[in-house]
């Protein structure tokens, strides 16, 4: 981001930008347009009888929002939260949902040519894969990722 003109251009092109976070050694990407804010881990009020990956609810400036552990939801074993653990608040069909991730890395613009489709016939939460110089990023498809959570809500 060298100058202002460049900046505006990048905001216009929000669609190419991804918020990168990591879980263990893998990198995941979320469309930046979905992300509302990033919080450090805070006290979570647990809820009884919900899916194990729903960690509970938090108070975000008077608004109560649910938080989900991405690790658990992806089937990766749990680990204790530390000071790098973050909650990414996203806007999912006008609902605010917090995602607990190991670490938020950076915001990246990924040119279209570096994005490749995921393997065919392979049901997963991945919408595409970004090929970067030093790493591979799995871009989460929020529709499929939250499908089982959303089915009862949408009419």
């Amino acid at each position: 981001m060298t100058n202002l003109a460049n900046d505006t251009k990048q905001i216009d092109g929000l669609n190419d930008r991804y918020l990168l976070f990591s879980i263990d050694d893998s990198y995941y990407g979320l469309p930046l347009a979905m992300a509302l804010e990033i919080l450090t881990i805070q006290s979570i009020t647990r809820l009884p009888r919900v899916a194990p990956y729903i960690k509970g609810i938090i108070n975000l400036r008077g608004k109560v929002i649910p938080v989900l552990d991405v690790r658990t939801k992806l089937g990766i074993s749990e680990r204790a939260y530390d000071d790098k653990t973050c909650i990414i608040v996203i806007d999912l069909h006008d609902m605010h949902v917090g995602l607990i991730v190991d670490m938020v890395c950076e915001v990246l613009s990924v040119p279209q040519e570096n994005i490749i489709p995921p393997p065919k016939n392979y049901a997963s939460y991945i919408s595409s894969v970004s090929q970067l110089d030093d790493k591979i990023v799995l871009n989460l498809d929020c529709e499929t990722f939250f499908q089982n959570d959303l089915e009862q809500i949408r009419v």
């Binding site: 006290s43 009888r49 108070n59 109560v64 949902v97 959570d149 089915e151 809500i153 009419v155």
Partner: protein
């Protein structure tokens, strides 16, 4: 359209609000009259007044289509007023037409509110109305109607305005108030109810905007024959906006009345010393009257978003108050004066809260009337006979809740008539009364509103429902495992429509699931009971307000729960382990004053990891729940708090926490969240 201009915006809002209210009133009168099979003279007059006012204000807002339709309705009722005997000739068609007209107005208002207003075309209804008017008049020559039309609002011709009791007034509007001709027209409208005859110079000021200049120059002259006392007329003029002054001219000045000239103003000026004195006296008198009976002034309309904001603020204040009163810095200090002040503050916030709540409360009657209308329209259209019986219309609910339940109710009532109530022939064959009954009843049970919608139609067929759900792939367990209640609840699922035929009114496949969603959004629940062939009852429970509860905060492990104070009977420590009786199935019970109560351990119920296990160390809270109570076992009492109830995020709807003993959550003074317990659903676990 002039609505684009900013100054009109709030006027538009007022117009919509007022017109809506009048239409509601109109519908009520019509329904009542239709049921009674006659219209009282008073009601004819009310309808006449309502349409007249709508016409006037619509003309002022330059919604010509609304105004011209209102005009036609008004015409018909004007003629009816004169010839009440002809009513029977047109009785049925008149009601349909006026309902159509009222629907047309509503549709226009709706599109105005949406902001993408395009004028609808009322000419069809107008033609029909004109036709009706001609029928009522019977032999009377048609040209009279034309002349009535021309005179704007069927004003009597000027020739009637002479002789005894005629009052002539000279009205001057405020300088630069704008639209003088329209204001003059509005004034005439307002005077209409008080006068037997009314005309003005210039006549029909609304017709030609160039008359505004004339009115500014010469003033506006009203000639009228007051129905009762001229005082009514004077009062109306005084209370009108933008009127600088008015004078009563000599009653006997008939000759000049037709020659509007500057000479007239001079004459008025001549006679003014005496008259203006009289006017001033009248003014003073009416001022005193205004002071002594401020009834008319005591109602104001408020924008709902302001009320919502106020409500939020009160919620914040309550939270802030407990933040101060229970500030950790104050722990262990003895602060007599502080405690006293806090108590005073608490009293005030309580009062504030009550007032704000009561402002937001509206009776359900309005919603019930709307339903009445739907029952009428639908049964007519579908050739079924049904009547709506309402009970408890005076039950008050929060405005937000009232608004949220209109659509679901409408849908359920439509369903009842469309799908449940049989045709009259079928009903007679089945040995039921010919006229189907839909009952809409509301009652207040303390913290909640209970609303039941029941019909005596064909009822739900569990087998059919099950098959249907199976075909739609909605079943999640073997068919035989479904209880009757579960089967009924299937109709609340998305994508379930019991009627394969799509009708005009219902059966588009988006039905009961939307109803459920709307009701859940305001924190309510819906349940269904039905007996095949006998009828169906929907029971809806809605919290009274989206409100603030007095609660006792208790902890279990790291979780804070809030228990509504009203549900708590007592709390106590267990001193001896032998007080707990172990049932044969492993559940625990306790005997209190000769009664046996089950014990619910929140820790086990909600599988909370930490928390006290030994009954001697924790606390027992006895709660009331309907006719049966039970005891809740928790770690510790934190104290009494007032909390603002927030619903769980919609994202978590899937887990149905509402039926698991948790009615919502609340943000506490320190920013942490407590879970609000619902003693009624807690025990069913």
């Amino acid at each position: 359209m002039s609505t684009d201009d900013f100054g009109m915006e709030s006027m538009l809002e007022i117009f919509i609000h007022e017109t809506e209210e009048m239409l509601e009133h109109l519908d009520n009168i019509l329904l009542e009259s239709e049921r009674a099979k006659s219209i009282t003279e008073e009601n004819i007059n009310s309808i006449f007044r309502i349409t007249h006012t709508i016409k006037g204000s619509a003309a002022m807002m330059s919604f010509n289509n609304i105004s011209s339709l209102a005009h036609s309705v008004e015409d018909v009722f004007y003629i009816l007023r004169e010839n009440p005997s002809k009513l029977s000739v047109v009785f049925n068609s008149i009601f349909d037409l006026v309902f159509q007209a009222s629907d047309f107005f509503k549709k226009e208002l709706e599109s105005l509110q949406k902001g993408d207003y395009t004028e609808g075309d009322p000419s069809d209804i107008i033609n029909k109305l004109t036709h009706q008017a001609a029928i009522i008049k019977g032999e009377q020559p048609l040209d009279e109607e034309v002349s009535a039309d021309l005179s704007g609002s069927a004003l009597p011709s000027e020739s009637e305005l002479s002789g005894e009791g005629v009052v002539k007034m000279h009205v001057v509007f405020d300088n630069d108030c704008g639209m003088e001709n329209i204001r003059a027209f509005m004034l005439l409208n307002q005077l209409q109810p008080y006068c037997d005859a009314l005309t003005s110079i210039p006549a029909n000021p609304e017709a030609d905007s160039s008359l505004a200049a004339e009115i500014i120059k010469n003033g506006f002259i009203i000639i009228c024959k007051p129905a009762n006392s001229p005082d009514d007329v004077f009062k109306t003029i005084e209370s009108s906006l933008n009127i600088k002054s008015y004078e009563v001219l000599q009653d006997e000045a008939p000759a000049e009345s037709n020659t509007v000239s500057s000479g007239e103003t001079a004459e008025a000026a001549d006679s003014s010393p005496k008259d203006s004195e009289a006017a001033a006296a009248a003014q003073a008198k009416s001022d005193i009257q205004n002071l002594s009976k401020g009834v008319k002034q005591s109602l104001i309309s408020v924008n709902q978003t302001k009320l919502d904001h106020l409500m939020d603020l009160v919620g914040e204040i309550v939270t802030a108050e407990s933040m101060v009163a229970r500030n950790p810095d104050l722990k262990g200090l003895r602060l007599d004066n502080f405690t006293k002040s806090i108590r005073e503050l608490r009293k005030l916030t309580d009062e504030l809260q009550d007032i704000v709540m009561s402002i937001r409360m509206v009776p359900l009657q309005g919603t019930f009337y709307k339903m009445d209308r739907i029952v009428r329209d639908m049964s007519k259209k579908l050739g079924k006979k049904a009547e709506l019986i309402t009970e408890g219309g005076d039950t008050e609910v929060d405005k937000t809740i009232n608004d949220a339940i209109v659509d679901p109710f409408m849908h359920m009532i439509r369903n009842s008539i469309d799908h449940a109530i049989e045709s009259p022939e079928e009903r007679i064959a089945l040995g039921k009364p010919e006229v189907g009954k839909v009952t809409l009843a509301a009652k207040n049970t303390g913290g909640e509103i209970f609303i039941t919608i029941s019909d005596d139609g064909c009822g739900l067929d569990p087998e059919k429902l099950l098959n249907k759900a199976k075909n739609n792939g909605l079943l999640t367990k073997p068919e035989s495992a479904y209880t009757e209640k579960e089967i009924f609840n299937l109709i609340l699922l998305p994508g379930f429509s019991t009627n394969t035929n799509v009708t005009e009114y219902s059966g588009r496949g988006v039905g009961m699931d939307v109803v459920r969603k709307n009701i859940e959004q305001v924190g309510g629940t819906i349940s269904i009971s039905s007996e095949k062939g006998k009828g169906t009852t929907f029971t809806i429970k809605i919290p009274l307000t989206l409100a603030i509860v007095d609660g006792m905060n208790i902890t279990v492990g790291n979780t804070i729960f809030t228990l509504p104070i009203t549900a708590i009977r007592q709390s106590f420590k267990i001193t001896d382990e032998s007080q707990i009786i172990h049932n044969t199935d492993g559940t625990e019970m306790i005997v209190l004053r000769g009664e046996c109560f089950p014990v619910v351990r929140l820790r086990e119920l909600y599988s909370i990891e930490s928390g006290i296990e030994d009954v001697m160390n924790g606390i027992m809270i006895q709660v009331d729940c309907g006719d049966a109570g039970y005891c809740i076992f928790a770690d510790e009492l934190l104290g009494e708090y007032q909390v603002v109830v927030k619903p769980f995020p919609i994202f978590l709807n899937k887990y149905d926490l509402k039926n698991q003993g948790l009615s919502g959550c609340s943000v506490l003074g320190d920013g942490s969240i407590s879970l609000i317990l619902d003693v009624n659903t807690l025990k069913n676990e």
